[in-house]
């Protein structure tokens, strides 16, 4: 018998639901740059999910790699959208 | 074996002479004497020989030797009862030889001959129908096994008539003056052989001669079975004369018609194979 919820699992549930909420907000949002802000929320939540799923030092590395990678991606998308370097 | 190898070119050249003679007689001309082709080849062997300045030298010369070598090999395969697949492999290599002979001199006429020989690649596909049909019936592709099968069960000519017709057409498309001989039509001088003179031309003629013998002999062996040497030659002659009749009474098709005709034949054969497969 699987219990309906488990007290130790509450952080996982929170992360999962926040991630899903963020995804829904991204899909319904119209402006590209504001999507990126919600994407950031999703990254936080997914990083949390990754680390909470396997408590191991490698999972920390995986989480950080994921977070930095998606931040880089968001940065690149935003910069390109805005037209690259402003000066020079 | 050696005897056969020496005899084959002469026999083939003689056959080619007979071929010309029969065609001429049917068309109401006197025609050349039947040993004309032998004399022809001898004459070429002693003429001055050179290589065109624009030609790719090695290919120009090497391809002649390849042409002779493959058909000598084919003759060995037929005589020793080797694999039928190998024989047809050699038949397809002949296509490459024509292509090489045509392209190596750099002359536009020869090149057109070579390119046309590539166009008629569709004439090879009936061969696979032949192979498939024979394999389906006999369960083997070794010529010796096929001959043995016919000794036991009677000639394949009747049970495999469509395959026989396909092979007949294949041989026909390799005969001079036939309806499908687009590679040496007169509008491109001598087709792929235009630039090969002297001894090279003699070599090509010899390979043609051996080819004629091999194809006719393979036809008889595949669809009738083993015969004594004399009967074999008579059977080959009968087929040759029938081929000459066809050549004499049909016009030469233009390249596209020729390809279309061959495609139609392929479609019929494939349909036949499908029916055969369904029945089995």
């Amino acid at each position: 018998m699987i219990p309906l919820y488990d007290a130790a699992m509450i952080p996982v549930y929170i992360c999962g639901i926040v991630a899903l909420y963020a995804v829904i907000r991204i899909v319904t949002e119209k402006k590209t740059l504001k999507k990126l802000v919600f994407l950031n929320v999703m990254n936080f939540a997914i990083t949390g999910l990754i680390v909470l799923s396997i408590p191991d030092i490698m999972a920390l590395f995986a989480g950080i790699a994921y977070f930095v990678g998606s931040t880089l991606e968001a940065n690149a998308i935003a910069s390109t959208y805005a037209g690259g370097k402003t000066n020079e | 074996m050696i005897g056969y190898l020496i005899a084959a070119p002469f026999l083939g050249l003689l056959f080619m002479g007979i071929h010309r003679k029969v065609i001429a007689r049917i068309q109401g001309r006197p025609g050349p004497p039947i040993w004309q082709e032998i004399l022809h080849t001898l004459k070429f062997s002693f003429k001055e020989t050179w290589v065109p300045r624009t030609a790719s030298k090695t290919l120009f010369i090497g391809i002649v030797f390849v042409a002779i070598a493959i058909w000598v090999g084919a003759l060995c395969v037929v005589l020793l009862g080797g694999s039928l697949l190998l024989l047809f492999g050699i038949y397809m290599v002949q296509k490459m030889v024509e292509h090489g002979v045509g392209l190596s001199p750099g002359s536009p006429y020869a090149k057109f001959g070579g390119v046309r020989s590539v166009i008629s690649a569709s004439s090879e596909i009936p061969l696979f129908a032949v192979i498939g049909g024979i394999y389906f019936f006999t369960g083997s592709l070794m010529i010796s096994d096929i001959i043995q099968y016919q000794a036991d069960n009677g000639p394949l000519l009747f049970s495999l008539l469509p395959a026989a017709i396909a092979m007949y057409i294949v041989i026909l498309s390799k005969m001079h003056y036939g309806p499908f001989s687009i590679v040496e039509a007169k509008e491109i001088v001598s087709g792929y052989k235009t630039e090969h003179f002297g001894a090279w031309r003699a070599g090509l003629e010899i390979s043609d001669a051996i080819r004629t013998v091999v194809l006719l002999m393979a036809f008889v062996l595949l669809f009738w079975g083993a015969l004594s040497p004399l009967l074999l030659i008579i059977a080959m002659l009968i087929i040759l004369v029938s081929l000459s009749f066809v050549c004499a009474v049909t016009p030469m098709l233009n390249p596209y018609d020729s390809v279309t005709m061959q495609l139609v034949i392929i479609v019929i054969l494939v349909a036949w194979m499908a029916i055969l497969g369904l029945i089995a």
Binding site: I57, M58, A59 | -
Partner: protein, 143 residues
Amino acid sequence: MAKVENLIAIYSVIVVVIAALAIVSLIVSPIGYEDTQLYPKHINTSSPLNPYDRGGVPFGTTEVVAQYPQNSPYLGYVTAYLTPLSALMAISNQYLGTTIVSHPGGIIDEILYNTRGLDTIVETSILFTAFAIASFLYRREEE
């Protein structure tokens, strides 16, 4: 057939027809999965070499199901060996299996370099040829 551009369309039609026939024949009579495969996998999630732990003795033989076991007396030698670096990774962490096995010595190396080495030769030759074409054309354009 008149233009070379249409060739792709013709070829596609042929393949689509054959693939459709294949699907129909699969649904009518499934071909089934042969259970005795070469080099089968067995997953042992508690091992540090996770998806690729095939057991065996280092510098000894490992039981792998090869096509011709009689053909290569050294079959399975590479599989169980760990270089010092990979041994270090194996004792330090549970979740580095792929890295360890991809490091020299491991079942994939065994298959790629030993039993199916010719495949790898052909594969690198293909890469080499294609690069020769690309770099030749590129450099000719540069000049």
